[in-house]
């Protein structure tokens, strides 16, 4: 098959629908009818989220492989489910493809999706495959489930709670800058950063663990910790104090920032697409969580304070500054 025209929409769907069900017990009808038919788990809350990725806005096919793009298109949705404390279950995938798209590109795009779905036991149960006059567009919608007692919203943070993040922050944004600048392949430090950007791992297991351990609020870090801290503070009507010296940065990020002439912390505060989690928790419960899971990749970065204090960053000299959201904003007015 040399072109989408030769393969046709229905031939394409026949190829794509293979190996899409990882949990057969919950799927009555997958791809191939008007709608998927699914068996929900009794007594669980259902979660639903969607994300759209647009060529030249969210990705550039000269710096990502189709496989990586497929992986990421699913990952960003699983990250939203993780941030509620839930388990992802089913995905529907829409793709708009230019007529010139090589069929292999589409097959590899779906291979990346199927890989991450297999890894997280998510089923691809439907979708839409259409043509596009300009550029590739991918939309994924994902359902999830959560025990009512384990649901974590953004709005439950209480003064006195600790503020904790998973993993390292800022790696993805530095990875994007390296990709955009080009000629990064010779630098060992660049690989983990570029990987963090191209194939972020959604923190589903950690999200479920900290939800069960009593997280009072949670958000995935898609727009930089400054933005997410403001979102939690606003939704919970609290203040948040972060400590610059406690924000976890990969050693490679520090190397990259030196090379790029930037401050590593800025990537963590304002960079996008880390897809780590930030959560708040009563200090005693956090201590118990750490005692039970000593190897947990989490770092305390601050405290929840009264709303009047706002969202602040305390630098290593003890200076306090207001921390504003400066994450990515589609349609933002240029400064």
């Amino acid at each position: 098959m040399n072109s989408l025209k030769e393969l046709g929409e229905f031939g394409l769907i026949d190829v794509l629908k293979q190996d899409t069900i990882n949990d057969h017990s919950s799927v009555v009808v997958g791809i191939g009818d008007d709608a998927a038919v699914l068996l929900p788990t009794p007594k669980q809350l259902q979660l639903l989220t969607t994300d759209m990725l647009v060529e030249s806005v969210h990705f550039d096919l000269t710096t990502t492989t189709p496989w990586q793009l497929g992986y990421k298109a699913i990952a960003v949705n699983l990250s939203d489910i993780a941030a509620m404390g839930g388990a992802p279950r089913h995905a529907v995938v829409s793709v708009a493809l230019p007529h010139s798209t090589p069929p292999d590109l589409v097959v590899n795009l779906y291979k990346g999706m199927k890989e991450i779905c297999h890894e997280f036991c998510v089923n691809i149960v439907g979708g839409d495959t259409v043509s596009s006059p300009h550029g590739l567009v991918i939309n994924v919608a994902v359902t999830g489930e959560v025990e009512p007692a384990n649901l974590v919203r953004r709005s439950g943070a209480q003064p006195g709670d600790v503020v904790v993040v998973t993993g390292n922050l800022g790696s993805s944004a530095a990875g994007l800058e390296l990709l955009t600048a080009g000629q990064w392949e010779d630098y060992d430090f660049a690989w983990p950063l570029v990987t963090a950007h191209l194939t972020p791992r959604p923190q589903v297991k950690l999200g479920q663990l900290v939800a069960a351990a009593g997280a009072t609020s949670m958000d995935d870090i898609s727009d930089g910790i400054a933005s997410e801290a403001n979102e939690i503070a606003s939704a919970s009507q609290v203040g948040i104090r972060l400590y610059a010296g406690q924000i976890p940065l990969a050693a490679e990020l520090k190397e990259a920032a030196a090379k790029l002439g930037k401050t590593p912390l800025d990537y963590a505060l304002y960079g996008g697409e880390d897809f780590q989690l930030v959560f708040t928790m009563e200090p005693g419960k956090y201590a118990a969580l750490l005692a039970a899971n000593p190897e947990l990749p989490v770092t305390k970065v601050g405290e929840v304070v009264d709303a009047g204090e706002g969202v602040t960053l305390v630098d290593q000299a003890g200076q306090v500054q207001t921390l504003k959201a400066r994450g990515y904003n589609h349609f933002r007015q240029e400064d």
Copy 2:
């Protein structure tokens, strides 16, 4: 507000998220957290479907208003839920917008969506608003619910069943041709056809009614009855015999076809986007359905036959021809 830049992504979301919940009892968290949190109805099967509409492929902003486009973007998804016998429940909406998009266009797009969601008691519980370098893209994913006993798939048709359609067929395709040709406004016959194309009404109530009455298979008519008959025949491993003289055509379609120099039946057989339903049913159950609902807008158009007979059309002279799917196929090789 004069531009999306002034309003910004988050300002836009604040406007859009008003009046999005029509059934509060099933929504724990709507727009504004990482994912929507929903209460499923116990013991029902969950349905999930998605459709993407791309500017210049699926719609043209010179021939549709944003309100109509929003209405249709939801309608096509509700039609898929209707075709399973289900009730639509929740929608998530992604839109990719060029920077030059007037904010009023977006507001009116959402007004159209909110109108049909209100009409069918569907909640808009989330979405994604991103920028687009070229043209508007809308993706909607909708969940639904159905009693297990009322689920209707494409695969249950049995020889001896009647084949029935709702409403009239072909109107939407003729409406599209009129819109494309332009200068249709002076013709009274054009208005219902253009309306059928721009704001199709999903047959949710009829779908639920015929499902409960024992429909053995069902499909929504998105690609012409020839295509849907072939899909049901293939999924059910049966043949289908349609009678040309029985296919319901609007009087306005006949007038339009005369004006356009076309055969009205061709619009019904091969035209797209009617979003009516075609279903099969044991004749005794169909008679009982009609007896209980004498005003039902349904028409018997054929019979289910043995697979060996294939999918055929019997014309008014009694001539039998094989009926092939010729509906819209993205990426189809040109003839």
